[in-house]
Symmetry: C2
Subunit: 311 residues, 2 copies
């Protein structure tokens, strides 16, 4: 059996304005890196390393990596005497809006699948990654885990049962992700959402998501830009992210196609139709927060097409 | 100038379950036929003929044909001395859920555009048709007028300003439309709609509309079928259409992809992936209503691609 395997899972942008719980895409920035090997001592032995180790739960019933792997091993009916040692390096802190919980879960199941000689196809691993992510925010959603595992921009029709579809990515589409140093937890961000919405908002949200999908298939950047509206969530969550509207306004002035809160924030994402514009957006948003005395990190990337990979 | 021109506008199916106010398609069944010519006597002279003439308003401020044409002539800044004589034959009664109001308006503006030597492109006529339809139900929507005028299956992102997109139609897609003799008015059907909906329903509606668009682009009939759910309107309107759930259940048993209320009813539409299944659905729904002592008419058709045409 192979020993000492390394797997990397990318950061992901979810919701994308018109697609709450229904859209996500992967970017070329490694979120989680896990090195693992089979060991004699039974159980999953997790070793969290790197700057963000402290903000990740080490309790195996609360850690997305171990929960995802445990569910996977249960499905395989693997012997309880199996021993797995994992060194998890989190490049991005949980609660950043870049799919950190999903990335750990995806990397974990992908790695164990490899250690065991690949008993499942990559796509079959997704339910276990989603189960892992569930322990972090108590919500069933696939808009981080699906693009993280599979790459690309993914449309999620349904989580239970899984009904996900990879969209064509137009050439020239760039993603900017700026993360100001503000803390928001997914669970709290979900709690602010109202249980009822305007009928008209629901109609507009649907029309925009339909248009987003059409725009991707037809490489229509003008339509993509018009469809990047959020009629369900943005208004309810914006107060959790001070300066968001200033940042959005600054990004749109650089020629961005659209701008919004990634997942439940604090990361702000921008879609652009060329790399220069994407870099200008990153600079503009970084400046808005710098002027408020808040530091940010930023990434500019094309849509990642590979998802979680062996490396 | 040309004289004695004839124009035909097709019937249309709107809403299509997951696309309230956002989806419509045309079928190969003529809804309105108008013959018109320029005359010396100034004004629009409307002559309603055929079995459904009685149920169509003859007051020019309430008739969709004359209102559409008046708006069109205003936009052209045409002389008030212009005289137009029209003979309007309505094949389908207003209030059937097959876009009768839109068809009259589309045929009217298309015909006058031809009479005047085509001052506008076909697509530019759409706003006037929508204005005409507005007088019938006091609602701005393009999900009948857009497919009626242009043909095909159309996604409407926005009515004001118009933002509409023709979807690829997969080979083999068939439409069944069964109209039981039950009267429902669009205006009343709109009044039953609640102003607020569940957040979860809004998320599902959007995911289904996105999936419908993806399914059309990729000819994925299985996904098309799964996406044909209505989380916003069907439950609220079904009581206006006795027997609807029986009819839907009967249609689905014949292998239909999906079934719903066309527009605000009473027409029930079915989508199928072959002609035999489409015909079986028509028979099954017709039988459900026959057993209740209600007569129906039915049409089975591919998606009409030509829209409103000169003939």
């Amino acid at each position: 059996m192979p020993r000492g395997i390394k797997v990397a899972a990318p950061a992901t942008i979810s919701n994308i304005n018109c697609g709450f719980d229904a859209l996500g895409l992967a970017i070329n920035y490694t979120c989680d890196e896990i090195v693992g090997r089979l060991v004699d001592k039974p159980g999953i032995h997790l070793n969290l390393v790197g700057a963000n180790a402290r903000s990740t739960p080490s309790d195996p019933t609360k850690n997305t990596v171990t929960v995802a792997i445990s569910n996977f091993l249960d499905a395989l009916e693997e012997s309880e005497s199996l021993g797995i040692e994992l060194k998890v390096k989190k490049m991005i802190s949980p609660g950043s809006g870049l799919g950190s919980s999903a990335a750990g879960a995806c990397a974990g199941v992908m790695l164990v699948n490899e250690l065991l000689g690949r008993p499942m196809e990559k796509r079959q691993l997704l339910p276990f990654a989603i189960q892992g992510e569930y322990v972090a925010d108590k919500s069933w959603h696939a808009d981080n885990a699906a693009p993280c595992l599979l790459g690309g921009a993914i449309l999620i029709r349904e989580v239970k049962p899984l009904d996900i579809h990879r969209l064509y990515t137009p050439r020239g589409l760039y993603v900017t992700a700026v993360t100001p140093q503000i803390r928001i937890l997914t669970k709290e961000a979900r709690e602010v959402l109202s249980e009822r919405v305007d009928f008209k908002s629901a109609v507009k949200q649907a029309a925009n998501l339909g248009s987003f999908v059409h725009a991707m298939h037809t490489s229509d950047f003008d339509l993509l830009s018009r469809s990047l509206e959020d009629h369900l969530v943005e208004e309810q969550r914006a107060h959790l992210l001070p300066g968001f509207y200033d940042a959005k306004s600054a990004a749109m002035k650089t020629g961005a196609l659209g701008c919004g809160i990634s997942g439940s924030g604090p990361t702000i994402f921008v879609l652009s139709n060329n790399e220069n514009s994407a870099r200008d957006s990153a600079a503009a948003i970084t400046k808005v927060y710098a002027d408020k005395g808040i530091e940010s990190t930023s990434v500019v990337s094309e849509v990642n097409q590979a998802g979680t990979v062996l490396c």
